[in-house]
């Protein structure tokens, strides 16, 4: 992580179901906080790049989630969709510390390829 992080405390890790998700709502955006089977946490915008499906409701497998509306698979690590078309959602920095989860509300900037 290259930028200075501005962490906001969210909740206990245990409050997010394993292979599941909880949502953080701000005035501008819904952010889905995922917890994988290995207890890693990831945060991406809760809006599928296809037709806006709620990614938070998808099935979580490994570090990926499958959109409930039309089965697009999104990589939780960087928000990129797997598939023929390049598509992407915003991703956010999260961290775990002492069993708590923290989020940085400024989206990660994607470096220009």
């Amino acid at each position: 992580m290259t930028k200075e992080n501005n962490w906001v405390e969210l909740c206990q890790l245990s409050e997010i179901p394993e292979r599941g998700c909880r949502v953080v709502v701000t005035d501008e955006i819904k952010i889905a906080i995922f917890r994988t089977h290995t207890d890693d946490v990831y945060a991406i915008e809760d809006k599928c790049p296809h037709l806006g499906g709620a990614l938070s409701e998808g099935i979580v497998h490994g570090a990926q989630v499958t959109c409930p509306l039309h089965n697009l698979v999104i990589n939780l690590v960087n928000g990129e969709a797997l598939g023929p078309e390049p598509m992407c959602v915003k991703s956010f920095d999260v961290k775990k510390e002492d069993g708590k989860v923290y989020l940085d509300l400024v989206p990660v900037k994607k470096e220009a390829a």
Partner: protein, 815 residues
């Protein structure tokens, strides 16, 4: 400012032109397209499988409404253009509305020719050109009876085969001595006639229709030799004529078709034309391949690339009647200086004839085996000198340069330029590179990415072969299909191993069966969860995180992220109290849509996720529970009012339906299960298209299974007759238990029964009393763990986190 492009006719040619134009990234034009038909652009060629019932209209749509929106095309369906005003550059529709253009494209196609014999306007005389014609034919077929098809060409034969498959008694009348005389020589035509007659379709050649007889509706046909044939439906398929009326009236140069240059310009340079209405180089075409070539040229020209020109096409023909292989290309008339090479295997029903001129192939007719059609097309188009291989050329490409190789070799040996999909002009090289570069692995993928096999579908086999060539062993369309990319095992293997190795959790399955991912995927996890749940009732703990959101939340997610809620309504019976409670809930939570479903209950649509538990609590309080409207499990038992009210009712169909629903609710199954009970064979509750159906008769109950009315439509098959309600319960629960234990995830009853055999299902359930009784017992055993209202569990506080976001973020932190 953008130029205005107006298109008259929304058919296959026009659609393809726009697609080519947008594929080039062109946005120079404001496009308006007028179509006389009240619908979007669909694949006209596929009307034949729609007629026969092998496909549905929805499956043959080429451009849905979304497509027009995305591409900013102003689509006017159901509008007929009646005049072109060239002076003021306007088109005028039937209602007098005017639309001006900078460039106009005429794509009016053809109209079917109707022989003007006496009686051609009677009801029941139809042509075969658009979806309305197909609807008319299907209506007639539903009434049964006799159909006469006039015309034994491509269209006529496809119509005849379709009507026959729809259950009509069909006769084809053909004026010429042999069928499809323009595409087939007499030997091939003879084989074709024999095959068609074997299917139970009568063929009368040299039949000249003198008169169609009837008062209002057609009753019979009289031939000029005096013969009279009864008819309830007459299909005229005697040919098409280019639709040139508009162009002619506007003073454009018109012959048989609208005359067009190599740039597809008419005699007015601002008016272009494409499709069957075009005459180019004295030819009018009636097949899509040349029209698509024209479309490509126009798109390039409109995009500023004037180097693209249309120089005419050599067309080939295939008949789209399932089970008949026939191919023809080029010219096969006997002429001086021409020689024929013939291969005949009467027993095998194979006939091949090649016509050579100056050592070059000029025509080919293949019947019974058409595998080499691509290669012959290539030889013909490229004018290859075949003197070296003239002894063996007829045996096909495999044979050249050695003993016959495996069937794949023919496709492997094709050069990259060889055309695989004639309709869309897609060559082998393009398909192979798309497979490699984009990692395609199925025919559908190839369709999406290259359009190959997306039109008439006859090249699907070749595409499959290219896939297996490119992907090697990993592609085999008939091979057992792995459950998902996480494992090479197929569903059946996994089911067996779960039992054999006594695997009782998802991680155990993945560990023991060597899953290639650590956590599965969205395909295998729900399947494994179901297999474990159905194999170890009472023992296995359902894994909610492996369920699709609808089953996890017990409500259906809608496209805007809200949910729909459907309470159970036992057997479709409700009460004022229940209705009042539903109305109150709708008011209280401002639920925007309240809809009656096809399964006889009420759907509340647009419920916000945060309101779900409150809505359920209110419904629970009024005595209602989840209708499992989202479940791969029992959905509804539809009933008619039966003998309580109906004068035809033979048994208490409503009561029996309620009893079935009370017994079966809560059960998880491989895919959804819908039932219906009808009080008599009039079948008002449509029991014969359900997974399980009961028809009450005087003597008891007729049990049905394996119907469907969704993506596929299928009538049920009869399981057996029983005499008491108790037997109905025993047989039904046993049947569902068997399905539960054997079905693959997402496989409906009709698919499962087809896979294992309908007869085998009858053997187990009907003939083997002991098995039936133990299956039924296992069903009831499992039910005791499953009949728990999931709504109530949530109302009581289970998984509360599901319904609430993490605490709201204060604004200052968000800054």
């Amino acid at each position: 400012m953008k130029k205005k492009l107006v298109v008259i006719g929304n058919g296959m040619a026009a659609g393809h032109m726009l697609e080519e134009l947008f594929d080039r990234g062109n946005t120079d034009y404001d496009v308006t397209i007028f179509g006389k038909e009240p619908r979007v652009n669909y694949n006209r060629m596929m009307l034949s499988p729609v007629l026969s019932g092998e496909k549905k209209y929805e499956e043959i749509i080429i451009h849905d409404e979304e497509w027009y929106k995305t591409n900013n095309v102003d689509l006017r369906t159901g509008v007929n253009i009646s005049k072109i005003d060239r002076e003021n550059k306007k088109v005028i529709d039937d209602d007098g509305n005017e639309t001006s253009y900078d460039k106009l494209l005429i794509a009016t196609g053809s109209y079917p020719f109707i022989i003007p014999v006496v009686g051609h306007k009677l009801k029941g005389v139809v042509s075969f050109r658009d979806l309305d014609d197909v609807d008319l034919m299907q209506e007639a077929a539903n009434r049964g009876g006799k159909a006469i098809v006039i015309g034994g060409g491509l269209l006529g034969l496809e119509a005849a085969a379709g009507l026959q498959m729809q259950g009509m008694d069909v006769t084809v009348l053909h004026l010429m001595p042999t069928l499809m005389e323009r595409q087939l020589d007499s030997a091939a035509a003879y084989l074709l006639e024999k095959e068609i007659e074997q299917r139970g379709i009568k063929v009368i050649t040299r039949a000249n229709t003198e008169k169609i007889i009837g008062d209002e509706h057609v009753e019979a046909i009289r031939l000029d030799d005096g013969r009279e044939l009864e008819a309830d439906l007459v299909v005229m398929a005697v040919g098409i004529r280019p639709e040139v009326k508009l162009a002619a009236e506007a003073g454009l140069m018109v012959n048989r078709g609208i005359l067009a240059s190599d740039h597809l310009q008419t005699s007015d340079p601002d008016i272009l034309t494409v499709g069957e209405c075009v005459e180019h180089g004295s030819e009018c075409y009636g097949l899509v391949a040349p029209l698509y070539e024209m479309a490509k040229v126009i798109a390039a020209n409109l995009d500023g690339d004037m180097s693209a020109k249309y120089t005419g096409s050599v067309t080939s023909t295939k008949l789209k009647v399932t089970g008949i292989d026939l191919f023809s290309i080029g010219d096969f008339a006997e002429d001086e200086g021409r020689e024929g090479i013939i291969l005949r295997d009467a027993a095998g029903g194979i006939y091949k004839r090649l016509i050579l001129e100056d050592n070059k192939l000029v025509g080919a007719v293949l019947y019974g085996e058409t595998g080499d059609s691509t290669w012959f097309t290539q030889l013909l188009r490229e004018g290859t000198d075949i003197s070296e291989m003239r002894e063996t050329v007829i045996f096909g490409q495999n044979f050249q340069g050695g003993p016959p190789l495996d069937p794949m070799a023919a496709v492997a040996a094709l050069p990259d330029e060889a055309e695989i999909c004639g309709c869309n002009g897609v060559c082998k090289g393009k398909i192979v590179s798309a497979i490699k570069e984009k990692g395609l692995s199925s025919v559908d993928d190839v369709r999406v990415h290259t359009k190959a096999s997306a039109s008439c579908g006859t090249c699907t086999n070749l595409v499959e072969q290219l896939l297996s060539l490119s992907l090697g062993d990993s592609f085999n369309p008939n091979a057992p299909k792995p459950m998902c990319p996480c494992t090479p095992l197929e569903h059946g293997d996994v089911r067996r191993l779960i039992v054999a190795k006594e695997l009782k959790s998802i991680p155990a399955v993945m560990q023991e069966l060597e899953w290639e991912t650590s956590c599965g995927c969205a395909k295998c996890r729900p399947a494994l969860n179901y297999y474990l749940l159905s194999t170890w009732p009472g023992e296995y703990v359902d894994d909610n995180q492996s369920r699709f959101v609808n089953e996890r939340l017990h409500a259906n997610i809608q496209k805007d992220g809200t949910y729909s809620v459907v309470p159970r309504m036992w057997g479709g019976i409700t009460s004022p109290e229940e209705l009042r409670a539903i109305a109150d809930v709708a008011d209280k939570y401002k639920i925007p849509t309240v809809k009656v479903t096809g399964g006889q209950r009420i759907d509340l649509l647009g419920v916000k996720k945060e309101d779900l538990t409150d809505v359920w609590a209110d419904l629970n309080n009024a005595g209602m529970i989840s209708g499992h409207a989202y479940a791969k499990g029992l959905r509804t038992v539809k009933t008619c009012v039966g003998k309580d009210w109906c004068r035809f009712g033979t048994q208490d169909s409503t009561g029996l339906g309620i009893k079935l629903e009370r017994t079966l609710w809560g059960s998880w199954t491989p895919a959804k299960v819908k039932l219906a009970v009808s009080g008599c064979p009039r079948n008002c509750s449509e029991a014969t298209c359900k997974d399980v159906g009961v028809i009450c008769v005087d003597s008891g109950y007729e049990l049905h299974f394996g119907g469907a009315a969704g993506l596929d439509i299928k009538g049920t098959e009869i399981l057996c007759n029983v005499t008491t309600e108790d037997e109905v319960m025993e047989y039904t629960t046993a049947l569902i238990q068997l399905y539960r234990e054997e079905g693959y995830y997402l496989e409906r009853i009709y698919k499962w029964a087809k896979r294992v055999g309908f007869d085998r299902v009858r053997e187990v359930i009907v003939d083997d009393e002991e098995q039936r009784k133990t299956l039924s017992k296992r069903f009831y055993h499992a039910q005791q763990f499953l009949q728990i209202d999931p709504w109530k569990e949530f109302v009581d506080g289970k998984d509360a986190h599901e319904f609430a976001p993490i605490k709201p973020i204060p604004l200052e932190a968000a800054q």
